[in-house]
Symmetry: none
Subunit: 64 residues, 2 copies
């Protein structure tokens, strides 16, 4: 069920999404709280789909 390429994000992009430090995103990945793949050079890439899911999934209340 995965024939479509999954958009990948850099640490900095994910960091801006969550308004945290890129280092924090790295910690999340190291702790296995967020999925990640590594480039042969060692840099991490994150799934945009998963990040947005985490963002929306953790949403509480909101309706005014």
């Amino acid at each position: 069920m995965n024939h479509q390429p999954d958009p990948l994000l850099t640490a900095g992009e994910v960091a801006r999404m969550f308004r945290v430090d890129p280092k924090t995103v790295t910690r999340w990945a190291a702790a296995g709280r967020i999925g990640s793949i590594r480039t042969p050079g060692g840099h991490r890439r994150y799934s945009e789909t998963e990040c947005r899911a985490l963002l929306e999934g953790s949403r509480t209340g909101g309706q005014a």
Copy 2:
């Protein structure tokens, strides 16, 4: 168990898979981090199988 030809990818295609610059893919090949074939003109071609293996092989964490 290898009777089927291995699909070859260009630098740009590999770059999109890893969300990196095509130049970076070239550096991987030059550094021997990834296998590559050269066209008589000097351009490189990469194995799709190997690229996807690297992608999946580096997969980490996610949701438990």
